[in-house]
């Protein structure tokens, strides 16, 4: 290990030691007056050291080493949250500390797991339905110009409908269970998929299209061999956007009538019971699920559109 890396490693160690010391000092009946000011000044210095270390770590390259900077950043954010809440004695019902959220996650894991399963069913069903419908309608609108003119403005309106308006109506139509939440997710994901697919189909180079014409290729052959593959980057764009949209809309839809499980139900019921740490645990679970969903689609995208210019570094 060269001298530079050794200094960075030492700095990380110093960060950890100071962090631990500061946190244990502010627990319980913390310091008062001048000593309290000293603690906050020391924390400010700690942040500066963190900045320096992150700068060094961000220059590392490689599969594992490249993750060090984001990992340290994430941990540092959690730490600052913890020390701010504990140090300033923030009421638990306003903002719980990360350790309280972790405890709630562990204590209520059974219920949260069942909630997650319920929401996941509606998210996946709605996502597939909405993206499938958007894709299908885009293909039709591409083939028949008349549909494109008439349908696009209507689809735009469907995309602008607020979730909080459409959710109670879906509950009335499809009942309280996962079907109504899937319907909301489908409506919300329809428009981005439609618009992006159309844009992708239209993005084909005119020269390539002429070439297919000279080969005597019909609409279907041109579609399958040229236009759909070119449209893939756009389609994946929509799929990635829709992954988070579907999750958000399903959770919000659960606020408006649901059985007594589901991430949205858990958030709304526990916030009213002032169990804010359980709320944050549910939020953390939803955020994690959303990131994993997004990441999976990004991986598939990488595999299928490796040829695209954006992957050339």
């Amino acid at each position: 290990m060269n001298r530079r890396n050794a200094m960075t490693a030492l700095a990380v160690l110093v960060l950890a030691v100071i962090a631990d010391a500061l946190l244990s000092r502010v627990q319980g009946d913390g310091p008062k007056g001048a000593e309290a000011a000293a603690v906050w000044w020391l924390l400010a210095g700690w942040v500066l050291l963190l900045w320096f270390v992150l700068g060094r770590l961000a220059q590392l390259r490689g599969r594992v080493l490249g993750l060090l900077a984001p990992a340290l950043f994430g941990l540092a954010m959690l730490y600052l949250w913890e020390i701010a809440v504990v140090g300033w004695d923030v009421p638990r019902v306003l903002l719980p500390a990360p350790h309280a959220v972790g405890e709630a996650l562990a204590a209520r894991w059974g219920a949260l797991r069942a909630d997650f399963r319920q929401t996941a069913v509606s998210v996946v069903a709605g996502y597939c339905a909405g993206c499938g419908a958007g894709f299908g309608v885009a293909l039709l609108a591409d083939r028949y110009r008349l549909l494109q003119r008439g349908l696009l403005p209507l689809a735009g309106m469907a995309g602008a409908v607020p979730i909080v308006g459409i959710a109670p109506i879906m509950v009335m139509w499809f009942g309280f269970d996962w079907q109504s939440k899937a319907a909301v997710a489908a409506i919300v994901t329809f428009f981005p998929m439609l618009v992006n697919t159309l844009a992708g189909l239209a993005s084909v180079d005119a020269m390539h299209r002429d070439l297919m014409r000279t080969y005597g290729a019909g609409h279907l052959a041109t579609l399958l061999k040229l236009r759909l593959p070119s449209a893939l980057p756009f389609v994946f764009n929509a799929l990635k956007i829709n992954s988070t949209l579907a999750l958000i809309s399903a959770i919000v839809a659960e606020f408006f009538g649901s059985p007594i499980y589901g991430l949205g139900f858990r958030i709304s019921a526990e916030v009213a019971r002032m169990n804010v740490d359980v709320v944050w645990a549910a939020i953390a679970l939803a955020a994690l699920a959303g990131s994993v969903f997004y990441g999976l689609i990004a991986l598939v995208e990488r595999a299928m559109t490796f040829w695209h210019a954006s992957y050339r570094s």
Binding site: P91, V93, V171, F176, G257, P259, F265, A269, A272, M274
Partner: protein, 332 residues
């Protein structure tokens, strides 16, 4: 310059007016439990008829709504005094927000479970295996206590009940999505009737009759507010004027309804519905001293909440959750 008699007189008058103006400045913010409706007639009447002004108070009434939990509003500093139900207030107190009951406006509970006869529910024994609609946001505690008393699990097991988090409307019953839904005697039940259902088609289980009633609309403030003698004195004046408003509203219901409708910013409330609501609310306010908390009813509420074998709403007997200090001061 010499201070002449007229100048002294004018200065004296100016100071007196300033003092009088300053006295009318005592601001108090009240957070209601729900939207503007006859359920809160007493406060709107007190404001409109000038009872608050006479007491030297400038009261801001904040309407509530879906997912506005008054206990959370006061915890966040958004109000000085809130209207809330006792189960929610006690549960919040246990979570670390020191709410204290300073007056109990409703002596009886208006909560009930309304069932369709064609769902096969005639007695509480028929609940097994059925779907029941319940509000959450702090209103689920009496229901959970009742189910616990009946020995019915609420997680959807075949020999328990399936619970739906109902929205603030009566559609689940109209659409047969639930066998029973939660209603208030003064609001949702009448929404069912207005939607076309007939009383003969419905069976109503009042929480009062089932022995699981808990105290509802009451006034709550935080311990910190009560510890400040100036605020305590302001609250005493507020309670006095509010109870005067309630007495007036119960005696002059039509006028009270007009005042409520005038204050309804949304314009969504209808006069006929509000008149019926006012009539039902008057039955809940009770016949004793308006605003006085009946300690026996308080004990009953605490027992109901603590008796949940599997999931009690509160785990220990509350200490210091109620005070008669303000009410006694308001009676002077």
């Amino acid at each position: 310059m010499r201070i002449t008699k007229p100048t002294r007189l004018l200065t004296g008058m100016a100071l007196a007016f300033a003092a009088a103006g300053a006295q009318a400045q005592d601001k108090i913010t009240l957070q209601l439990k729900w939207v503007t409706q006859a359920q809160f007639a007493g406060y709107y009447v007190a404001k409109d008829k000038g009872f608050y002004k006479d007491a030297g108070l400038d009261v801001t009434i904040k309407a509530g709504g879906p997912d506005i939990n008054p206990s959370q509003v006061i915890a966040g500093g958004g109000a000085d005094v809130v209207v809330d139900w006792m189960p929610s207030a006690l549960a919040t107190r246990e979570k670390g927000v020191p709410l204290v009951n300073i007056a109990q406006v409703f002596q009886r509970s208006g909560m009930e479970l309304t069932c369709r006869n064609d769902s096969g529910v005639k007695t509480p024994a028929d609940f097994k295996g059925k779907t029941l609609g319940v509000w959450f946001s702090g209103n689920e505690y009496p229901f959970l206590s009742w189910m616990d008393k009946l020995g019915l699990k609420t997680n959807g097991e075949p020999d328990g009940v399936k619970v739906l988090k109902q929205g603030f409307n009566v559609d689940p019953l109209l659409q047969k999505q639930a066998a029973c839904i939660s209603t208030m005697t003064y609001n949702e039940y009448w929404q069912l009737i207005e939607a076309g259902m007939k009383p003969e088609q419905l069976t109503v289980f009042k929480y009062e009759d089932q022995g699981v009633a808990t105290l509802e609309d009451g006034l709550y403030a935080t311990e910190k507010t009560l510890a400040d003698p100036k605020m305590a004195e302001k609250l005493a004046r507020f309670v006095k004027a509010s109870m005067k408003g309630w007495d007036y509203a119960v005696k002059n219901q039509d006028e009270a309804v007009k005042i409520v409708l005038k204050n309804d910013a949304s314009g969504a409330q209808k006069e006929g519905h509000q008149k019926r609501m006012m009539g039902e609310i008057a039955k809940l306010v009770g016949t004793g001293k308006t605003g006085q908390l009946d300690m026996k009813a308080y004990e009953r509420t605490v027992d109901t909440l603590m008796n949940g074998k599997s999931d009690p709403v509160i785990t220990k007997k509350p200490v210091g959750a109620v005070t008669d200090k303000i009410f006694v001061a308001s009676q002077k």
